[in-house]
Symmetry: C2
Subunit: 239 residues, 2 copies
């Protein structure tokens, strides 16, 4: 079940057998979480992090007005809140988009890792920096891309990230977000998300039915998105 996580790490650096063992030792227990729950509430003190084994999670930030922005989507293999290890509490919520299986990692053990495994520490440090890079790309999308290319960009990103862990085949993958949740990712209204989806469909760039995305023309979609995967840091290097 933790394979996706190791795969994700090994795209960016080599992980020794020893380190793999150390990673497995980090997990204290595995839990299941139902769909549509707030798993971590902003401001709460946190003493464990959540490694997502299956399902989808999201980071959500709310405004007093009730408006909400999703700041990142997490898929199998992602640490949803590794940053809470050093931050001790979060300023955003973590919510479950689907039913999820989650491995819990006590901060105590992560602390042990920083004492005994400097390389692994650097790898996990890098993972939080990778999250930040994805975030930064979303910032660029929200600030400068229009609705169409913003949405195209998100689907390009997810196709790559899901591909790395074998959850996208032939540019086709399950996508459990409702149009409303998609709107919360993209800084749009649900109505406009619907229009924009139709426009992508009309151009033959995307199909979306039964909670499943297919991208018949990935190059066309990348062109609309001006997609450059450099920000996903897909090269294996000693960190």
């Amino acid at each position: 079940m933790i394979e996706a996580h190791l795969q994700k790490l090994r795209v960016r650096d080599s992980i020794s057998k020893d380190e793999e063992h150390a990673i497995l030792e980090l997990v204290s227990q595995v839990i299941d979480v139902p769909q549509d729950r707030t798993i971590i509430r902003h401001g709460e003190e946190i003493n464990q992090s959540m490694l997502l084994l299956s399902g989808w999670l999201a980071r959500a930030k709310d405004l007093p007005s009730g408006q909400r922005q999703l700041a990142e989507l997490h898929i199998a293999g992602d640490f949803a809140d590794l940053h809470s290890f050093t931050l001790k509490r979060l300023e955003h919520d973590v919510i479950s988009i689907t039913r999820c299986r989650i491995a819990l990692v006590p901060h105590e053990r992560l602390r042990g890792m920083t004492e005994r495994h400097p390389h692994l520490t650097r790898v996990y440090w890098m993972m939080t920096n990778l999250d930040a890079a994805i975030q930064r790309e979303w910032t660029l999308s929200l600030g400068r891309r229009n609705a169409l290319s913003r949405m195209a960009h998100l689907f390009c990103e997810l196709d790559v990230r899901l591909g790395l862990i074998g959850l996208s085949q032939d540019n086709s993958f399950d996508f459990p977000l409702t149009q409303m949740e998609l709107a919360e990712c993209l800084g749009l209204t649900p109505v406009h998300v619907n229009r924009t989806l139709q426009e992508l469909r009309r151009r033959g760039l995307l199909e979306f039915q039964n909670r499943r995305i297919s991208i018949p023309d990935i190059d066309g979609l990348k062109a609309v998105a001006e997609f450059d995967p450099a920000y996903l840091y897909l090269d294996r290097q000693p960190r």
Copy 2:
């Protein structure tokens, strides 16, 4: 000159004399950089990080169309690209807004720190997570706040961050960005930035002349911004 940096760290955790010494040892040299230069170009291999001693830097992301988004502003005491230590290259540029004095920190020495100073490692890990939290707040601004409250929010943030290092007194501070650069932060056009500034002025919330900001009514400004500083993690805690 490195005082601002130590101050910034000590807002969030205690730093021992020993660690302070280790921090000073990280710096290999100090350089000056003129205004309006691209100091780090995206994609280049990097083997040192930049600790800003004075002046302003920004992280910039460009689109092929020539549009640009500033993703973060850096002031004295900030590490502008600590994340390049684990990422090895960046997917954004780092540019100088003003003339800057910068301490260079070879990645080799940061690596040494991760081997010998686990606590300091966690503190610096936290600093990159703090950058990400600020980024996340900008994401929320761009996705959900309108021009007025987005701009108000930025000035509230800067007032706090500059205050921590003694560069904002009585809610008044030097602000070297042009209206065009401000527009690139806020995802607006320069024209609309101008109008929005005027609106803040008209409401008696802000004065802006001679590259200097004064906030006569900080509570009013915070109200317009719906500003909550939780995302700046201003509490001292063992990390």
